[in-house]
Assembly symmetry: C3
Homo-oligomer: 344 residues x 3
Amino acid sequence: MVRATLGELAVQFGCTLRGSPDVIVTHVATLESADSSALSFLANPKYKAHLASTRVAAVVLDSASADECPVAALIAKQPYVTYARIAAVLHPPPLPAAGIHTSAVVSPSAVIDNTADIGAGVIIGEQVHIAENVVIGPGCVIGDHVTIGRDTRVLPNVTMLSGTVIGTRCLINSGAVLGSEGFGFAPSAEGWVKVPQTGRVIVGDDVEIGANTTIDRGAIGDTVIGNDVKLDNQIQIAHNVHIGDHTAIAACTGISGSTTIGKHCMIAGQVGIAGHLSICDNVVVTGKTMVSTSIRKPGIYSGSLHAEEARAFRRNAARFAQLDELAKLVKRTGKKTGDTTEES
Amino acid sequence: MVRATLGELAVQFGCTLRGSPDVIVTHVATLESADSSALSFLANPKYKAHLASTRVAAVVLDSASADECPVAALIAKQPYVTYARIAAVLHPPPLPAAGIHTSAVVSPSAVIDNTADIGAGVIIGEQVHIAENVVIGPGCVIGDHVTIGRDTRVLPNVTMLSGTVIGTRCLINSGAVLGSEGFGFAPSAEGWVKVPQTGRVIVGDDVEIGANTTIDRGAIGDTVIGNDVKLDNQIQIAHNVHIGDHTAIAACTGISGSTTIGKHCMIAGQVGIAGHLSICDNVVVTGKTMVSTSIRKPGIYSGSLHAEEARAFRRNAARFAQLDELAKLVKRTGKKTGDTTEES
Amino acid sequence: MVRATLGELAVQFGCTLRGSPDVIVTHVATLESADSSALSFLANPKYKAHLASTRVAAVVLDSASADECPVAALIAKQPYVTYARIAAVLHPPPLPAAGIHTSAVVSPSAVIDNTADIGAGVIIGEQVHIAENVVIGPGCVIGDHVTIGRDTRVLPNVTMLSGTVIGTRCLINSGAVLGSEGFGFAPSAEGWVKVPQTGRVIVGDDVEIGANTTIDRGAIGDTVIGNDVKLDNQIQIAHNVHIGDHTAIAACTGISGSTTIGKHCMIAGQVGIAGHLSICDNVVVTGKTMVSTSIRKPGIYSGSLHAEEARAFRRNAARFAQLDELAKLVKRTGKKTGDTTEES
């Protein structure tokens, strides 16, 4: 267990401390907690109501909220970032035990740094390179010619197919598949003809890949995930997609083949992006939106209706099916009364 | 193979039997089957047309349909429930072979009941507790400090990360990942700062979790799945979600972080539920709906348009993009002619 | 490395060669490549702009584009099919090493052809039949009574539950789960009653199944995937679905229980198809569409709105929620001015 005083944390993370520097915190908890050795934070105004009654040891928050804090306060300009950094100190990832588990099956041609931790039942193919401090969790299959950069953690039961390249400090969650066959078939009179998928998956540094996310290898050339890209669970990334640095994508989103996504984009959950598109930098796409054309201008894009009471929704949806006809009627009538839309 | 007479089944399950009590059934089949030792059922009126021509040994159905049944009838008030219970007698799950397969890798500190069945290639971490009659299928990885209650079956290649708690009589399908890292990052000038995910996944009793479904551990505090919750395949449940007892969720649905779903809800497939929401008890959400605000009233909620012939749909969708303008025109014209909506 | 001359390829694949028959190609590359031993292709007019500047050895294209090709041209009627076939010659799948890895756990009752390649850590149950030249990648779990036809390749970490039948020349990608429990529960006063799932998964010949795709076993009777069906990643196929020959389905699509899909259909990504429906042959469904009724007529079907700039979309979506009321107003006004839709 890590122990830190508020004084130490204030100095290390540049916070203003309101309260005793000698108070010790050992872990994080929510504002609702009554745990007097816990640190909490307030970043989302939605949870401000919990501040007045909190009984944790200290709260990371901004100066605007500090007066309402009934316990010690670590005042930061960006409370969520500061909280994240302190929490990482209090909750370090488990220390890897360097070495190769006796049940792992490692090709003799694989080069594995002796600080790396290869878990039970791991299978490592030919010509694999695994760098310093890499952790490969139990049950992972690492195909031939895979390269994994230092300090990357691969959780249990991940599959990396041949040729995959992973940068440094990445985290790959369980069930993720990197380098699966892209979906490429040419129609012919005799049925589908498979188009060989000859490329690889290339992942940058500081990338996080969620549980059961799939990233196909390129058909020709590679599928490329930039630096500091964050991919949530159950995302599907097709062959030859390129994702720019610092872009974050939420769960269950699917990106079709050969689409390029810019830097610093934020794509919400269950979004679908068609193939062969180009999305520029700094684009935000809201949940469940279907993107079917390229986006050339930074901004926020939406395309999904929201839940209504079912009977009302159904009535409106029935009218949607008459919408073209209704619009024509509106315009005819409008002409008679002298009312027009700008375009009619 | 199990053999049961209709007489025995009628007594055990409280059905009225129309037909010979000595007829033997050994398995279930559809109404279309001609198998004279099979039991079938009629619950969905859509399939009533098949009743007249069925040649199975007997059919479980309600009294209203009994007269049209050409073979023996087991008449029940709730034919689907009764069928389910009889089918469970005829098709018991395979008997586990108690013991730990020699190829499994089990931490010495794990406590495994000697009636449990630990399959080939299973990897079990430190301080794991596995109770009576639990079956862990081949290839599963069970992380440190996991607890699994009695009679729970875990199918092959499931991953449970550290700290996961599973109740009794659960069924976890292959490829499911429990306890993956939640998706939490604080934006900073230097890029994304990871927010440590310090909580666990807590699953109640009688829960079924589908293939390749992912449930993230809590960020602070736990992600909680109540008793008798049924989760289909490829569902994504983010950190700190709470799901109430008896709620059932169909495939491919995604639930964002910190959302609470009540009891006895039914969420259809491909639904998306945004984060930090509260859904009350007894809510039904229809397929592919996007829920973006809390739901405080029991009822049925919808939000998805349905397939139309593409050309018609495209014309209407083009009008949708003019809808605000059209509405303004309608209201202007309406005012001139003395027609108004309630709100205009 | 495979080496082929353009002359050999032109003869073998029936192309007209414009250029020297002695030029050697060894691999494929994009038109943007400057690799003088690479073969490329032009099939999508979107990429025609790259043709003029290409520096590859030769391009497969149709006669209409041949004049603009600055390098050798292999002229074909269907350039994409011809390219696919040539690429398969240049990039053959890795040769399997026949035999059973010493770390595999194989039931004594399994019958495995001695040309098959069973990878490290594979677990094979009772009464399994594996035919000639089958490759089972590392970490796969093959349940009892599974049958796999000749020349089928199963990539690492696939799970096939008991009774699954796979045809010849299939490719199953990593993380796929075949034969998981269908989602069947009867509601009762005491909670959900599980309906035993007694059927199997039956897969035809020449089928490709994507990474992390899940196919449930039938509840009664089987779930059936026809010949030459192509399933992309993260598709969910529920119990008792039948998919007709030559149908292709893109990623993240979900098909609910007991639905039948015809032959030669093309279903795009993130489509949802409700249960107990029938979709006829030659149906195309565009991305993210919700299909909630049977489709009896070949054609293209759509149901998804597309991304707009968020503010505009939100305004229109707000009007959608008033649509029924607006439509009534339009029709009232229209009557006064003598304007009507066909149906009003």
